[in-house]
C-alpha cells in the first residue's frame, strides 16, 4: 500500500464540505468526471483543472468538517487524489474516505514542515513530492529528487484497514452479504 505523488497544499484549517463540494450539486447524480470538475470549487478554482492522478493533498486541521456528503471525498478521488495528509480530519469525512478507499493520514509534523516550505498563503500546487507507505506508517517529503524528511504516523484501526484493503465499503459489504 504505497502512494507517491505531487503535492497540493491547502493552507487552512476547517476546510468544510461546502468548500470542497458545494451543496447545490449534492442531489444531482453527477458522473465521475463531472464531480471531479466541481472539486474544491468554492475554495480553489484551479484545482480541478490541474489535478492529476496520484496527487496528494496536504492540509490543516479538521479537514472536511460539515455535512455528511460523500461527494466531498469522491470528487477529490475522481479528480485523481489518492491520499490526503492533514493535521486532523472531521470524523464523517474520515469515515467516508476510508469507505471510498481514499487514504487519510493524520500527521501534523509532516503538514507543518510542508507549510513551512511553502510559505505562500492559500492553496497551490507545490514543488514537493510525497511518498506514503501505509504498511509501515511512513511518510516522506521530497523537493525535486532530494529527500527532505521522513515522518511516522499512527497506524489505522484494524477495521478501517480491512475496509480500505477490500477497496472500500461497497466491496467489503459485498463479501458479507
Amino acid at each position: 500500500m504505497k502512494f507517491e505523488g505531487r503535492v497540493w497544499i491547502f493552507k487552512d484549517d476547517d476546510i468544510n464540505t461546502d468548500l470542497i463540494y458545494p451543496g447545490k450539486y449534492i442531489y444531482e447524480p453527477l458522473k465521475e468526471e463531472e464531480q471531479a470538475r466541481h472539486a474544491m470549487e468554492d475554495y480553489d478554482f484551479d484545482f480541478s483543472d490541474q489535478a492529476r492522478k496520484h496527487d496528494i493533498i496536504i492540509t490543516g486541521k479538521n479537514f472536511g468538517c460539515g455535512s455528511s456528503r460523500e461527494q466531498a471525498v469522491t470528487c477529490l478521488k475522481y479528480a485523481g487524489v489518492d491520499a490526503i495528509v492533514a493535521k486532523s480530519f472531521a470524523r464523517l469525512f474520515y469515515r467516508n474516505a476510508i469507505n471510498s478507499a481514499v487514504a487519510v493520514i493524520e500527521c501534523p509534523e509532516a503538514v507543518d514542515e510542508a507549510f513551512k516550505l511553502e510559505a505562500k498563503q492559500g492553496s497551490r500546487l507545490s514543488d514537493l513530492k510525497m511518498k506514503i507507505d501505509l504498511s509501515n506508517g511512513k511518510i516522506s517529503l521530497a523537493l525535486k529528487e532530494y529527500l527532505l524528511k521522513e515522518y511516522s504516523f499512527p497506524s489505522w484501526d484494524e477495521q478501517a484497514m480491512l475496509i480500505f484493503k477490500a477497496g472500500g465499503l461497497v466491496e467489503y459489504t459485498k463479501q458479507r452479504l
Binding site: 461546502d18 468548500l19 444531482e28 447524480p29 460539515g66 455535512s67 469515515r95 465499503l169 467489503y172
Partner: protein, 416 residues
Amino acid sequence: MGQTLIEKIIARASGKKAVSKGEIVFVSPHRILSHDNSAAIIEIFKKIGAKKVWDPERIFIALDHAVPPPDERKALNHKIIRNFVKEQGIKHFYDCGVGICHQVLPEYGHVVPGVVILGSDSHTTTHGALGAAGIPIGRTETASVWAIGKTWLKVPETIKIVLQGTLKEGVYAKDAILYVIGQVGADGANYKAMEFYGNIVEKMSISERMTICNLSAEMGAKAGMVPFDEVTKERLKRRVEGPYESLYADSDAAYEKVLEYDLSDLEPQVACPHKVDNVHRVKDLKKIKIDVAFLGTCTNGRLDDLKIASEIVEGKKIAPGVRLLVYPASRMVLIAALKMGYIEKLVEAGAEVAVPSCGPCLGAYGGILAPGEKCISSANRNFKGRMGCKEETGIFLASPVTVAASAIAGYITAEV
C-alpha cells in the same frame, strides 16, 4: 471506573456488558435515518448487490431536502425513493411535506432513550435530546447498514458540558450553544461525544435540547446528548413507539474533560461568516444590513421558535427590501402554528411561509442568496456558499428572536 452515557449506549447496542474508549465494536441501530439522499443510497445498495434490506421496520426515510422538488432530477429522486420504499416494504416513510427528518423522527415516536440512531445526515446528533445517541454516517455506510444491519464504531471519549446559572430574558438555548461553540471551537469535540448537564439544561424543553444537540455537530461531535429526565419522560408520554429503558452515565464516569460555564451574564450571540465558531455578542456588531431573515431548519424551526418570532413581529412590518422566509420544521409544527395564530402574525408582517422542509438551509433550491447579500438565519451552518452563492455573501447564525428582530429592523439586532 464508571461509564459515560455513550459507553453504556454503545455497549447495549453491540450486545456487550461494557465497552471502553477506543474499542471497536459492531452495532445494529434502533433506527437508521436518511432523506432525499436515499436515492443515492439506493444506487449504492444495488451496487453492493443486496436484494432485500435487513429490516424494513428500522429504516426511516423522510423527504425534506428538496421539497417540493424544484426540478426534474430531484423529482425523479423522490420517485426512485417511493418505488424502493414500496418494493422493500419500508415502514417508516414520510413523504414530502411531513417535515425535516430530524423533526419527524422524534415527532412520530421513533426515538427512545438509550439507543443508537444512525443517520446519513450530519445533524443526526439532534436525537440526543431524548437521551439517544444520534450518530451521523455517510451514504455508502448507510447502504451497507441497510444490507447487513450493522456497522463498526469506535467508542469515543466524552466531553461533559455543564451550563449553570440562569439565562437572562431574551437569551435562549441557541445563544447558549453558540457561546459554547465559540469556546470549544469547530473541531473541539471531533470524534467525541458530548453530554450536557447543569440547571440551564435541566430547565430546557425538548425543543431547546434538540437545538443544542443539533449544534453539537458543529463542534465535530459524534453524538451530543442530554440525559433522560422528567422532561424527557413527560414528552415521551405523548408519543413513543414502545417500551424503553433509560440509561445514565455513572457518577464516577471518566470524561475527557469537563467544561463548566456560568451563563447568567450571557447576551444574545451570533456566529458570523464563514465559520460557526466565529461567535460574537450581537450588540458588538456594527449595524450589519441584511437582505434575508431565515427562520426554520432542524435547529430552530419548531413551534416555540415560531411563537417567539411571531410575538416579535406582531403588528409590525418587516423592513423594506428584507425577505423574511419561514419554513416550519414539520407539518405538525405548521398545523399547531396555524391554530395558534403564529403564522398569521408572521405573514401579516410580510413573511413568506413555505412548506415544511429544509428550504434555504442547504442552498440547493428555494431562497438562494444573490451575490453580495447577507442573511440572518436560525440554522446551524454559515459556511461560504452554504445558501447557494458564495460571492460576497454572508450568513449570520442566531436565535429566532434575533432573526425576527433583525427582519423588522433591517439590520442585525436582538433588540425587540
